[in-house]
Structures are given as C-alpha cells and as structure tokens.
Amino acid sequence: MKKINSIIHIAILVFALSGCEKVIDLDLNTTTPVIVIDGQVTNSSTIGSIVKLSYTNKVKSDNSIVPLPGATVTIQEDNGTIYSLPEEANGIYRNESLVGITGKTYHLKVVTNGVTLTSSSKMPAMVNFDSLVVEDFPIFGKTVKVVTPFYNDPKGFGNNYNLFMFKNGRLIKDAFAYDDLFIDGKTVTFPLINSREEDELKKGDFIEVVMNCIDYDNYKYWFSFSQSSTGSPQAVPDNPISNIKGKAIGIFGANTYQKRSVVIP
C-alpha cells in the first residue's frame, strides 16, 4: 500500500510523455561523520547475532563501508546473561552462540571512544512463513512475474513483519515492512513489487525471501526507511526513525528469521 504514492508519481511521468531523466551533478553539504549501528539478534543458529558499526560517508564517495573498529559491544538477554560480541572483522562484531529466544528482550550496549550507545528490542513471536508463490502481474502494458509470500497473521494486534528479497544471491534493494493494523488475523498475500526495472524477475531466476518478525520500533524504522530515506522518497526526505539511544543512527532488532526460495518458471 505504500506504493500508492509511487503509482501516482509514475502516472505523472507517463502522462508527461516527454518526461526525461538525466544524471546531474550537485554541490552537496557534507556533515561530520555520524556513527551508524546495524545490529540484530536472530533466532537462527546459522546467522547468530551480529552488530556492524560504521560511520556515514560522503554522498559522492563509493558505497563501501567506513568501519568503526575497536568498540566494546555487548548484548544482555533480559536481566540475565551478558554476551560480548568480539570484533570478527573491521567494524563487524559477532557472537554466533547468541541465538535469540522469542519473548526475550535484548539490550545492546556499544562503547567506543568514551561514547556509550544503547538500544533494546524484544524478539516477537514467530509467525510461520508458509510459502512463496510466483504470480503474473500486469503493469503498464506488459505482464511481469512477482513473488508473493503467504503467511497467516495470528489474531491479536502487535505482529510486525519485514521482508527482504534476493535475486540470484544478490539483495534487491527495497524494504517491505508491514504492521498488522489492517491485516490482523488474515492470510497475507501481498506480492513484493520491485520499484526498479533492472530488478525485474526473469525465467530461471532463483529468488529467496527472508521474513523477519520484528518489534514495533523496528517496523517504524523500516517503514520510514521505505518512505523517506531511499534517495527517491515517497514522502519528505528524512532519516528513518532510529531506536538507538545516544549520538548515533541506525537500528538494532531482535528478529525471528525465516527464509523461503523459489525459481521463476
């Protein structure tokens, strides 16, 4: 449903048949680098728990990460065990033995250069990712293939979902975040529609979809990300709503993890 604005947008471009794109250069303001936290605890023993620390970079630089090494990273489970996440690679902190449990709250603490950053996230109940189905989807004079995840939202509000799609092992850059305000107790069958033409699914493509059940703060993060921070925003550009406390941006989530895959016929 977040696509409604983009549909209107596309319609404007279609109507203005002469609408044309060109790559331009602009003078952009730069800011002093800000610390970015990208962390998650999952219930998957293969993924484990990982926290990536980095700095923001200039828009005109390449997309490689500016790592933040040498930090002390710990995650406490409820009021119990404190797990430390040793630095596995430059800026990447990991503890494979920390496998999250549904219903428990995880408290992240990052200490770097005298700065303390914290966040908390409660791992929600896992909703079963039933299946992944390929469907035909007519759009603007042609029919494309889309994949549709099927799952049954349990009765009672408070379930939130975030889905990511991989095509032939490569992440398709889009976020599909849903809360259950309107889908409570229903079988959910929303197709994942790509916004970019080059991501169009072709016969033989191997598609994997990851479904995370997330808490509400994580939902707000990914929903606001999809609206405002993708570089071609539907709404006024802004930073996603972060759940990090302290002078940093980013997201920390205790998410359940399920993956389904399908080959486009």
Partner: protein, 770 residues
C-alpha cells in the same frame, strides 16, 4: 461582547451629517449578451463619490439632491455617461457596449474595475477575466485562469504545468477556492496539469492575497473567488473548441429575453482514445470530464434566482490493477432580493462534495480506499448603502461539514480487514460586518470583523495522542454532543490614502482562521491528499497579515505601477510526521505535527494597460519559513514553497486584425528541498543521511512560451479562430524531481538523477462560436 464589538465597528456611521440622501441604484449589464458586470465603476463627475457594482452587477449610490453626471465604465466596455436630476430615489439599469478594439487608442480600461487599483482601500487583490487572458500562451493550449494567475506577483506555481498555487508563502490548502460560492476541495484535474475551471464557463476570478473582505473566511492565505458566466440572455449561441488534449462545447441562450438565461458547458479529454488504439495500453484509462451549468431567472423586478452547478471527474486506471477516480460536485442556489434602493440581499444554499476512490487489485486482493468531504452551507449577505460616505456589508454563514476520513474495504479473499474510520461532523459558523467609510476625497477606511466559530460534533471515536504519535486512549462521543468548540475574532482593517489623483498608499491588517486542513507530502497536486477538520487534536490555523502598498497610474493610465509588502505569521500549521502512514492508519491525527510559520516579501508589478502592446512585468522577493515541533530539531526551516526570486514577463501584441501574438517568460529560484549530506549502509542497503530540512535548492526554473491567435472569420453570427502555442520554447529541462540512487552499472556508486517533464510542448486548438 459581540454587540459591543459591532457597535464600535459602526461608530463611524453615526458621525455622518443628517442631510436627506437619495439613491441611484440598478444593475449593470453587457449590451451584447446581457451578462451582469462585476466591478463596473460608477463615478460621479467632478466629485469624489463613486462606487462599484457588486458580484451580481447591482449598484447603489446615495447622494444629496442635485444634478449629477454619472459615468458608468467597465473593463473592455465603452463608458456611458448619464445625467440625473436627483430629487427622489432613481433606478437606472445600464447596458454597456463592447469597446471597439480595432481602435486601440479609444479603448478605455477603468482603473477601478481592474484588480489593483489606486482608489479605495482594498489591497492585495488580483482580478482576471477570461477576455484579458485569452491570448496568453498556456501548456496544451488550454486556457486556464488558475495557471494564468501564477504569472502575477505573490502567486507562485506549485510546479511545472501545475494548477496548484502558493500565495504569499502559504501552502496549497490555505487557498479558498470557491466557484459560485461553493468550496472546491480539489481544483486540479490530472494531477494539476489542468484546473477544474473550464474557461468557457468562467466570467471572472478575483484573488485576495491579503486584506480579505469580512464576508470571506476559512483559509489563511488567499481567497480565489471564481464566478461562472450566466449565459447570454439576448441570443442563443453555441461555442466550442477542439484541442490536442480536449474538446469543449457550450450552449447558452435566453429563456426569456432580457430576463433569464441558461448556460451549459462541457469538456472532456480524449488522450485515452489514442491510448486505446495501442494494443499495449488498451486496458489503461486516463481521462477527465467536467460539466458546468447555470440558470438564472428573474422572479420580478426585485428578485432574481440563480442556480449553478459543477460536476467533474477524473479517471485513471492501469490494466484494472489500479484504478482511481476523484471529483468535485457543487450546487449553488442563490436568491437576490432588493429590499429597497439601498439594501441588497443575497441568500445562498450551497452544496459541495469531493471524494476519491482508489482500487488496487493484485492476486487475490481487491482493495478499495474511499474518502469524502461534503459541505452544506447556508449564507445570508446584506449590502447596505447608508449614505454617500458609508457602505455597510454584513451577514452570516453556517456550514455543516461531513467527512468520511478513510474507508478501506477488501474482498473476501483479500489480506485485509475492512476498516471504516468514523465519520466526522462539524459546524463552521460565522457572522461578519464591514463598513467602507469615505470621510473625504482622499481617505478610505474599511473597518470590519468576522467572528468565526467551529463545533466539533461527536458521533464516533476521538483520540488522545502522545508526543510520539501513539494513541493513548479513545473516547466515544454521541452524535448530539459537542466535542470541542473553537471561536476566533478576525479583524479586517484597511486604509487607503490618495496622495494625488494618480497615486495612493494603503495599509491593511487581516486575521484569518482556518478550520479545514489538507495535509500533503507531495509537491504537486495529489488527488489522494486528505482533508481533515479541526478536532480535539487539530487546532484551527490562525494567520495575522500586515501589508503596505503603493499604487500609481502613469502616463494617462497607460501604465500602472504597484508595490505591496507583507508580513504574515501563522499558528498551528500542520505537517506529517516522519514515517507517517497516509492510508493505513487508525486516525490521520496520529500522523501529524504542529507548529508555526512566517512569510514576508515585497511584490512589484508594472503593467501596460492600453495600446497594441499590453502586458506586465512582475517581481516578487520573498521568504517563507516553518517551525514545527519534531522537525529539523525544532528550528526554523525553509517552507517547501520558499522561493527567493520570482519574475514573470507577459506580453501581448495585436499585430493586425487577424493576428495576435503573445509571449511570456518566467524565472524563479528553485524550491527548498532536502538533499542528503551523507550515506551509509544498513542491512546491505544504501541509506541516505539528512542533516537539515529544506536547506538545499532545486535548480532555478525558467521558461519562455509563445502563442499566436489567428482570427479566421468573424461575422455577426460566426466567429472562428485558431490558437497556436509553444510551451518552453528553448526546451529548458526544468527539474521536476531530483533523486539519488545506486548506479545501475556500478551499484557501488551513487548517481544523482534529475527528471524533467515538459520540453517543447506545441499545441493547436480550434475555437468556434455561432
């Protein structure tokens, strides 16, 4: 309290001396088609007395007994002088002849009837009529008053080819757009590329940018008062046009000659017909149509009825996957009654409706989103000519608003539960009075006030919301209960002082309260932008505007120079929260933030009014800012509509009897936008980092358009013309959007992509009338 206030307002009345006055009154019409003339000038020769005709062509002037030469004049009409020996009340109806354009030097344009005028105390007004703008080139060759007014100072376009406007730093929803008194909640067709106003049906448009007279209220930044034609009461006629995009047809004629008439105009685009010819696009829909109809009927010498209506609809659909339609419908019934030569009354019953429907179909999901706003309005207006120094206008208005904020429904196999948000009911009431006082030849004082009130009625769930936008608790109010009442006193004061016969200065202070709000997060016109009424959470928006102006007629009225400066402060302005969900929410109120705004600027305009070459240059220097809790660290930031410089140049040249050439040039500073100041990666995706709101600028906008009109044949019965235009002559690629994305070939790099809409849009249309 109220009574006291009204008394103090009219204290000026009591100062008038007791000599017996008589009244000259009547109506002013066009001889050619019997249309009443708005704003015609009635001047008493060799005196400083004068008045203008009201919106129904009625005038009334009170004078002491004597012999007078009265000069009646109006834009584009030949003036008429009448000698009256006033010993009792006189009724004098006047029909003015068309001015002879072929003798350009004889053409008289009254300074009083044009919008900006040296005389009087009214300021901040622009007025355009269809004949004045018919030669100005516009995109797709579709004459459009809403687009042409964007060439006037202080009125800025919301975007390329867009009919949305920003007036003096205000947002689009702060403009009250009324068509024969009915509110038009969305004045755009096709995302604003066309306005809802079919120029064949429109007589006149007046834009009040400030110093709104007290009979208007309900929006902060402007009033766009659009009046429909009444229909020719002399001869029946058919007219129309064929353009590249749309066709129009209008039929008008007398029901009883000289007394009553009707007018029906219809318009439809036919781009979809071409779409259907292509196999690929045959399942797509893209069109709009609209219909204007008006009927007027004289019940007797003192009573006249007007019935007018508008209905328009846009339909847009792609392969039955998405279909959306939206439209306005309005109806106005008015009764003019002349109590006596001094007291004119109008009673109006007005209905207005706007709704949209959006359907999405994918897989097993058939989902429909619906929203609607409806108004029932009863209005009473009195105009009373007290004596030759005082003219009083007073009245009241009651509007009943019914909003269906959002209704989402799905079919049995869809993934969503139906959700019907509770209807919102409210009353918007006002009483007003305003007196124009002319103590002497040079001074003109308008003192007025509007007392407005708003009752939020029960009939559903009302919410309390915490600072993060989460619902704290819910209270249910019964239909008959008042949830909350707001009241605002809106003073309207303006003073005009003539320095000499050609020059004047004016000053004004105006307060406005706005009870209906539209929240938008797009730049242009999005039909799905929602209207929300003031509630327990949304407070009325309030503005205070101070303005100062200088007006001068130069070289025997050939040129007119005006300058106006303004400062406007606004309270309780709205914006969306970051991450707001516009459609799937419990209530729109949880998605909003509130704050204040300020806008200031200076507007210059030099106009050449007569001769073969006519036109104007306008320049606006301005600033508009917002400060909203929760945005930009609660610091002031540039409003989206903030543009430092705005220049328009318009020229029309009568080359020969057959050819009229025209051109316009516009330049404005790019709008305030937010570009990223950094980027980073989260979960393998590029995320852009934003530091401060609207601190960046789109590239400057500029464009040149040409137009030419060829008069093919003109007899008494027939008139045919061809209108050519070229929009964006030098093909400037003006930025519509600027996006940041990973480069397709090298996703490790970011590219900045500018999308522009219109380069070289040629058009041709054929107009006929018989």
């Amino acid at each position: 309290m109220k009574a006291l206030l009204l008394l103090s307002l009219f204290s000026s009345v009591q100062k008038v001396s007791g000599q017996k006055n008589y009244t000259i009154s009547g109506s002013i019409k066009s001889k050619k088609n019997g249309e009443s003339i708005i704003g015609a000038s009635i001047e008493v020769s060799n005196s400083n007395y004068g008045t203008t005709s009201n919106e129904y062509g009625f005038y009334s002037i009170s004078l002491v007994p004597g012999t007078y030469q009265i000069v009646y004049s109006a834009l584009g009409k030949t003036p008429d002088t009448v000698r009256i020996n006033l010993v009792s009340n006189v009724e004098r109806n006047i029909s003015l002849l068309e001015a002879n354009y072929e003798l350009a030097s004889v053409t008289v344009t009254s300074s009083k009837s044009s919008g900006r005028s040296v005389a009087g105390s009214q300021m901040g007004i622009e007025r355009l009529s269809v004949p004045e703008v018919k030669n100005i080139p516009v995109i797709f060759g579709e004459k459009d008053l809403l687009k042409t007014i964007q060439l006037l100072p202080g009125i800025k376009t919301a975007g390329d080819g867009n009919s949305g406007i920003f007036v003096r730093g205000g947002s689009t929803d702060q403009n009250q757009i009324i068509l024969d008194e009915a509110n038009i909640y969305n004045a755009a067709h096709l995302f604003g590329f066309f306005s809802t106003f079919n120029s064949d049906a429109i007589k006149d448009i007046a834009v009040y940018k400030g110093a709104m007279p007290a009979q208007y209220g309900g929006r902060l930044s402007s009033v766009l008062d659009v009046k429909m034609n009444e229909g020719n009461n002399q001869n029946a006629g058919v007219g129309g046009s064929l353009g590249l995009i749309s066709a129009k047809l209008n039929v008008e004629g007398p029901i009883q000659k000289n007394k009553s008439s009707f007018l029906i105009t219809a318009r439809r685009t036919y781009a979809d017909v071409f779409l259907k010819m292509d196999e690929k696009y045959k399942d797509n829909q893209l069109f709009f149509y609209d219909l204007n109809a008006k009927l007027n009927y004289e019940l007797g010498k003192k009573d006249k009825l007007y019935l007018s209506g508008y209905f328009g609809k846009d339909v847009l659909g792609f392969n039955n996957q998405f279909t959306t339609n939206w439209g306005n419908g309005t109806g106005t019934l008015r009764w003019n009654h002349i109590f006596n030569s001094r007291l004119f009354s109008n009673t109006s019953v007005i209905y207005s409706n706007y709704n949209y429907e959006f359907k999405v179909k994918n897989g097993t999901n058939d989902i429909k989103i619906f929203s609607q706003i409806r108004d029932w309005n009863l209005k009473q207006d009195y105009q009373y000519s007290i004596n030759n120094k005082n003219n009083l206008r007073f009245g009241w208005s009651v509007i009943y608003h019914i909003i269906r904020p959002g209704e989402i429904t799905g079919n049995a196999t869809s993934s969503i539960n139906d959700k019907i948000q509770d209807k919102r009911y409210s009353f918007e009431n006002a009483i007003y009075a305003s007196n124009v006082f002319k103590p002497n030849k040079n001074l003109n004082i308008t003192l007025g006030a509007r007392l407005s009130g708003f009752n939020v009625m029960g009939g559903g769930k009302f919410f309390n919301i915490d600072e993060k936008g989460y619902i704290k608790d819910t209270v249910i109010y019964a239909r008959e209960n008042i949830v909350k009442t707001y009241c605002n006193l809106e003073p309207r004061v303006s003073i005009g002082y003539m320095l000499n016969v050609n020059t004047s200065i004016k000053a004004a202070y105006t307060r406005n309260a706005q009870y209906m709000h539209q929240i938008t997060n797009s730049n242009g016109s999005n039909p799905l932008d929602k209207w929300a009424s003031t509630s327990n959470i949304i407070k009325p928006q309030i503005s205070n505007q101070f303005s100062l102006g200088y007006y001068s007629n130069i070289l025997l009225n050939t040129y007119e120079f005006t300058a106006e400066a303004y400062y406007k402060e606004m309270d309780n302005v709205l914006d969306y929260r970051n991450g707001a969900d516009l459609f799937l929410n419990e209530t729109i109120e949880a998605q909003l933030l509130f704050g204040k705004g300020r806008a200031y600027g200076i507007e210059f305009m030099l106009k050449k009014k007569t001769g073969k070459l006519t036109g104007w240059i306008s320049y606006t220097l301005s600033k508009s800012e917002r400060k909203i809790n929760g945005i930009n660290n609660n610091e002031w930031y540039n409003a989206t509509q903030d543009r430092t410089h705005d220049i328009s140049l318009v020229g029309m040249y009568q080359l020969s009897k057959k050819w009229t050439l025209s051109g316009n040039f516009v330049f404005y500073t790019g709008g305030a936008v937010t570009f990223p100041s950094g980027k980073y990666q989260v979960n393998g995706q590029t995320v852009y980092y934003y530091n401060s709101r609207n601190a960046d600028r789109m590239p400057n906008y500029h464009r040149l358009d040409f137009g030419a009109t060829l008069q093919l044949k003109k007899t008494k019965k027939w008139s045919k013309e061809l209108v050519f235009s070229l929009y964006n002559v030098y093909g400037r690629e003006n930025a519509f959007t600027i996006n940041f994305r990973d480069n397709k070939d090298n996703p490790n790099l970011t590219e900045i992509v500018q999308t522009s809409l219109f380069r070289w849009v040629p058009s041709i249309s054929y107009n006929f009338k018989f």
